[in-house]
């Protein structure tokens, strides 16, 4: 069966690219070989039992062809020997290793190596593993396609020149390396979440967030015993579950607490809950699990019709111990404002480091919301205006303008 060949190729990509990169020890060559193999697949009428295995075998052959072309004829045999030390018959496309070894984790560790700049890591993983177009990556990172292309090229050069290994690191080194992978995915999640929540007209942001979700699920599948990995996947999936509820039909952002739960994706919520349930069995709490639990507590509104703010404040308390930051303190103050009322929230809010948060939009929107609930309309208007000055995306801008217009200056 060859239904939707392009989609099948897209789905096969991570495994095939990873196998080719592990084999060729070169990401550029692996990407070229994958593209060539896909072109070959679209031209033939072959219906292989395993598309992945077919693409890997054809990709390897295409890579050898490319190396042959690059090298002088006399050096071609050397090149072949160097790239394929163990394979005797390169013409053989039918004999696939079965099952094909899964090299995806290796490739994730390479693309997310801590020696590569954080932003470049996220871009590299999305580009190489998911095949996301550079123009899309550039858009979510708010930079030009050319600049993003250069960043990715530099990151690839660093992998090659600095000698980042193509081997999977030994488990004793997983701590730091896995931490780097988690940070990478968290950054990718943050930028796409901002992007998706504040969709700009005429742009489909789903592609990027689909791929971030795909990478996170992939990592959870590959590291099922790493509770923080499961936590991160749950966090990403929960954010994704609210895709359809974030912006209303007029293009106005809908805050989480006012979203129509009928538009939430209950399947995603349940799969995130299962992931967190599995993670909890290891009894190794971590910031990603806590962040996901906060989101899951919000998601429970789909069942309970109300939000357990006691639980959310407690979770922020825990998060503040694990990963103290002004943003966590801000979110905690907002949660207290929901649990104990706007006056209590404002008391907490006033303890926040105002200088540090002055350029953070959510700091001003949180202030505006507390002032609004306390009926202090002038203060609310001032805070909404400060938030509007910090360049919100269109959907949020409309939301803030509406809220601001509802206030009567006193």
């Amino acid at each position: 069966m060859r239904t939707e060949p392009n989609r099948a190729l897209q789905e096969a990509r991570p495994q095939v690219i990873a196998a080719l990169a592990a084999h060729l020890r070169d990401i550029d060559r692996a990407e070229d070989a994958f593209a060539d193999a896909c072109a070959a697949y679209l031209e033939t009428h072959a219906a292989p039992r395993s598309l992945e295995a077919w693409l890997i075998a054809v990709g390897k052959r295409k890579a050898i062809d490319a190396i042959r072309k690059e090298n002088a004829e006399t050096r071609a045999i050397e090149a072949e020997a160097a790239v394929h030390p163990k394979e005797s018959d390169m013409g053989e496309v039918i004999a696939f290793p079965d099952p094909i070894p899964d090299e995806r984790l290796r490739l994730i560790f390479i693309c997310c190596h801590p020696a590569i700049a954080l932003e470049a890591r996220a871009a590299l993983a999305l580009k190489v593993i998911c095949g996301l177009p550079v123009v899309e990556i550039a858009r979510v990172f708010v930079t030009s396609e050319q600049a993003m292309f250069q960043r990715i090229t530099r990151a690839k050069a660093k992998i090659h020149d600095a000698g980042i290994a193509f081997e999977l690191p030994q488990p004793k080194h997983w701590g730091e390396r896995l931490e780097a992978v988690l940070l990478t995915l968290e950054l990718a999640y943050t930028v796409t979440y901002q992007d998706a929540a504040f969709a700009r007209p005429g742009i489909d942001s789903a592609q990027v967030s689909d791929d971030v979700e795909r990478l996170s699920r992939m990592l959870a599948e590959l590291c099922p015993k790493e509770p923080e990995v499961l936590g991160l996947a749950a966090l990403v999936i929960l954010a994704k579950s609210r895709d359809k509820a974030r912006v209303d039909t007029n293009g106005v952002m809908v805050p989480l607490s006012e979203q129509d739960t009928g538009k939430w994706d209950v399947n995603r919520i349940e799969s995130a809950r299962d992931l967190l349930h599995n993670a909890a069995r290891y009894e190794q709490p971590g910031p990603h699990q806590v962040m996901a639990l906060i989101q899951l507590t919000h998601a429970r509104r789909i069942y309970d019709e109300l939000v357990d703010w006691d639980a959310i404040v407690e979770l922020y308390d825990a998060l503040a111990l694990m990963r103290p930051s002004a943003i966590v303190a801000l979110n905690r103050a907002v949660a207290i404002g929901q649990r104990d009322g706007a006056a209590a929230g404002l008391l907490e809010f006033e303890k926040l480091p105002s200088k540090k948060l002055a350029t953070v939009r959510t700091y001003h929107t949180a202030n505006a919301d507390l002032q609004r609930r306390l009926g202090r309309q002038s203060a609310a208007i001032a805070a909404y205006r400060r938030a509007l000055d910090l360049d919100p995306a269109p959907a949020e801008k409309r939301f803030l303008e509406l809220r601001c217009a509802q206030q009567q200056p006193g």
Binding site: H113, A162, G163, A165, H173
Partner: protein, 119 residues
């Protein structure tokens, strides 16, 4: 591959009140590292460098002859205090060796691949 491990450390650590003890500790750390390097068959080399105030830097701007400047190139609070050139299969192995270098107080180890002969 060969990697150069550049030891950027604060010279003040050696001149303070218990500077002598710090020097002793750091030397012991280096001896330990050298023993491990040698025992592993690593063809390494390395040296301690004189203090940063003995350094001279040739600075180039848009090519040209280069202008001689007094002092080290580093624009940080640390000074280049020494280096190792070691063999390592990959960056992570090089980082693992670099972590064995003792650094008193603040500092940094820069890890740079040595340009391979064949390239």
């Amino acid at each position: 591959m060969q990697y150069m491990l550049l030891i950027n450390e604060s010279e003040d650590a050696y001149t303070g009140e218990d500077g002598a003890r710090v020097i002793e500790d750091v030397l012991a750390g280096h001896m330990k590292m050298i023993e491990k390097l040698s025992a592993s068959g690593n063809h390494w080399s390395g040296n301690r460098l004189r203090e940063a105030n003995t350094a001279t830097t040739l600075r180039y701007e848009n090519g040209g002859q280069g202008v001689v400047h007094d002092g080290p190139f580093a624009e940080t609070h640390e000074e280049l205090g020494g280096y190792y050139i070691i063999e390592a299969d990959d960056l992570d192995s090089a980082i693992e060796w670099a972590r064995m270098i003792p650094i008193p107080g603040n500092g940094a180890i820069e890890i740079r691949p040595v340009w391979p002969d064949e390239d």
